[in-house]
Amino acid sequence: MSIPNEIQITPEMISDHGLSNDEWQRILELTGREPSYTELGIWSAMWNEHCSYKSSKKWLRTLPTEGPRVILGPGENAGVVDIGDGDVVVFKMESHNHPSYIEPYQGAATGMGGILRDVFTMGARPIAAMNALRFGEPDHPKTRHLVSGVVAGIGGYGNSFGVPTVGGEVNFHARYNDNILVNAFAAGLAKADQIFTSQAEGVGLPVVYLGAKTGRDGVGGATMASAEFDDDIDEKRPTVQVGDPFTEKCLLEACLELMASGAVIAIQDMGAAGLTCSAVEMGAKGDLGIELDLDKVPCREENMSAYEMMLSESQERMLMVLRPELEEQATAIFEKWGLDFAIVGITTDDLRFRILRHGEEVANLPIKKLGDEAPEYDRPYITPGKYNDLAAADVPQVDDYSAALITILQSPDIASKRWIYEQYDTLIQANTMQVPGGDAGIVRVEGHDGKALAFSSDVTPRYCEADPFEGGKQAVAECYRNLCAVGAEPIAATDNLNFGNPEKPEIMGQLVKAIEGIGEACLALSMPIVSGNVSLYNETQGQAILPTPTIGGVGLIADYRTSVGIGSAGQGDIVFLIGTEATHLGQSIYLRELLDREDGPPPPVDLQTEWARGEFVRTSINTEYITACHDISDGGLAICLAEMCIAGQMGATIEHQSEQPHASLFGEDQSRYIVSVRPDYANMFAANAEAAGVSFSRIGEFGGNALTIGALISISVDDMQHAHENWLPDYMAGK
């Protein structure tokens, strides 16, 4: 067999495709001859980091992915988790970092589009979204433009598509100046017996293309997403795609109708490396070959080559294997929704991936080897060094703790993100029981009396930088805590691992250690990882981002009426601290914002304690002893209380005496919560905590219109609110 090669492959071309010499040798072997140019494109798409996870696979395998509720773990478009009554929640998180830096609006929009497609491809109607964003320092000349574009892009797509955004996070740090992170999460609902996958079945069945037409969008995009930024970034620009949320919404409705009709055997969205990845996956998973006739593919542009068509990343497209006898019904659905569709291929029994263009075979490759034989590296790594302990006694105190509280409340990472989340539709679908601004978003499950799901996205990159293992653990622990804080039982998680160049042993060390930490925490807290995404090479001219393994967690609530928010305390309610007084200032916001130091080890997480306190808090919320709850995280106790006061528009008076008030007020010791309890339940609550063996103390009560903490802090709720709410809008207005 020979495939005429119109373009001679040069060593330069091979390296431009991100393939190493060894990889090329292996490709020659597997192909059994010199590949055609189209085939080179196909191999490189399948073997790049984005599709093959070649640097991370070895370590990803160590993550706990199973549990009694897990129906489908990593490997499909999204994870599937049982939530009882035959319902499942389907979710995943994915990055769109590089495209969002180049074209913030479209980059973020298409990121949203991609993650939503991952969810509805499985047969689930999306019901919630979150977005985890990291930008450069506020003073950097590009930051404002990037924030405004990314937020508008996420909103522009999600709002039009019609999914409520219920949570997210935002950080600013100089290490993201040239590499912002845009991680988008989506979750959907389906019935356990109506889950669809990409695994094709049956020989001689039509392979159907559905959705938008194919253009030259993002040709080479998956390769770009895995390459470091450098000076010739301009040349890579045309790889940016434009999103069309309207078509996506029609695609959603068409797919769900089609699935309900029984016509779908296998379905796969075209994401990174479009037609190539989707077709190979369908065939390989089903032990089938696939033959595609590119002349049948609906095209938006003229004279597209086979290479371009195979690598195009045009958005809003699906590939499916349909039951031929239901073709008529399927056609009616496609037409109703105004979508382009065509039979573009057929399943075969020869395990080959064959591509025809103008009647000629332009690729003929072993379909299973394209994925299965993808390289897997055990990249050398260096375990990152650790900081020496930083005793609170060695950290300077401040004179004015009220002023310190205000400074922190209006610091970029702590300030309210209302300016952002008000650009997202948080209410659409009419099931949002908690909007952003608290610990976790809550969405009720339609068709049940009280059942609801909670969502939270978390990671503290500065902790991960200081100690990736502890940082990885902490990301999971904080996510767990945020879910418990609204009364939800954490049931599973997804991860989005954003790191620099894994070919550098220090960076690889961060990745390895973070995964270890995540794995340990997921195991201890019973939050299996059911899906995820890895984004490497987030690095510009040698400067890597802070290691940022974002965790998206999902929790289950039996009755949302028993859940609580951070602002729901009543006048006179008693304030309890769950946990002990803080002593740890390493890597704290206090250290960074008041003393301009990023120093010391991050606060360690004791997973057994985390678990015990989480269980206790959740059970107490579910039994309605608790009126409001907030976990203590960034900024410590004082910030936690301030946020509760602002959200509830009510003050609090807290007893406080400490040798080391800076640590006690602003220390970020983990596994702690503030809860409020109705006065008549306070003794019972204390007795229960005692019985559960959970450390706690009764520290004050809610009421009035100022927050008073011992003799050190006294500020009106209005002043706190002003500081907290105004920073971001003022910053965005250029003030």
């Binding site: 909103g155 039009s160 309207f246 948080t426 209410l427």
Partner: protein
């Protein structure tokens, strides 16, 4: 009692609306696809929110030229009550069934938040269960809700009690002229409003201020 919800490609608060009407009236509305040429006999017709045709060109513009719109206009002429919420309001103005236009929000961003509405005319068939001057809570979620009409049209609207809902003091989220949030046509049977009463109808929504709008509209025909 028969309620009809018209659905365009890109409508996305249709499900919210259907759920709200079902909960409030006990009846599930029938739906009509935009390519239909007739609207079956109805006591209330609703155009729900969303991004029909992606809001491409102008919000509501393309939907307003859909096949169903002739029938809608005839239905309006027969005096059947019609409510357009958000995208529905945009479609009604684009179709000329209500005067004025909905332009890009003055702040230029999409805005989703709760606002306060003043009932400026409690004597319409859509507001009879509210008190005159009552202030209610209601969420908004839109990008193009900045109501505009020229002086002459505004004068007519204001003088004839055709402004039904106004953003209460300090809560205008989009720069609408005269804080206009919702208006009716001359005959009083077509209402367009930007806020989403269907998203505030039960305890789970933290309140039910939106409920009485539907109760008014449905009660009248019950």
């Amino acid at each position: 009692m028969k309620t009809t919800v018209i659905i365009f490609p890109g409508s996305n608060r249709d499900r919210d609306m259907i759920a709200a009407i079902t909960k409030i009236s006990g009846h599930t509305p029938q739906t009509v696809w935009h390519t239909e040429l007739e609207i079956p006999a109805s006591d209330l017709v609703i155009i729900p929110g969303g991004f029909s045709y992606g809001d491409y060109l102008r919000a509501g513009a393309i939907a307003a030229r859909s096949p169903i719109m002739d029938a809608l206009s005839k239905t309006a002429n027969r005096g059947v009550p019609i409510i357009g919420v958000c995208n529905g309001f945009q479609i009604l103005t684009e179709a000329g069934l209500l005067p004025g236009a909905l332009m890009r929000n003055a702040g230029l961003t999409f805005v989703c938040r709760e606002v306060k509405l003043e009932i400026t005319n409690a004597e319409t068939q859509f507001s009879s269960r509210y008190g005159q001057g009552e202030i209610i809570r209601c969420p908004v979620a839109h990008h193009d809700g900045n109501y505009y009409a020229d002086e002459a049209v505004l004068k007519k609207l204001e003088n004839n009690g055709r402004v039904v809902f106004r953003y209460a003091e300090g809560t205008n989220p989009n720069g609408s002229v005269n804080d206009i949030a919702g208006i009716i046509n001359e005959r009083g049977n077509v209402l367009g409003m930007m806020p989403h009463p269907e998203n505030l109808i039960e305890d789970a929504h933290t309140g039910d201020d939106g409920r009485r709008l539907f109760e008014s509209a449905l009660g009248l025909v019950a």
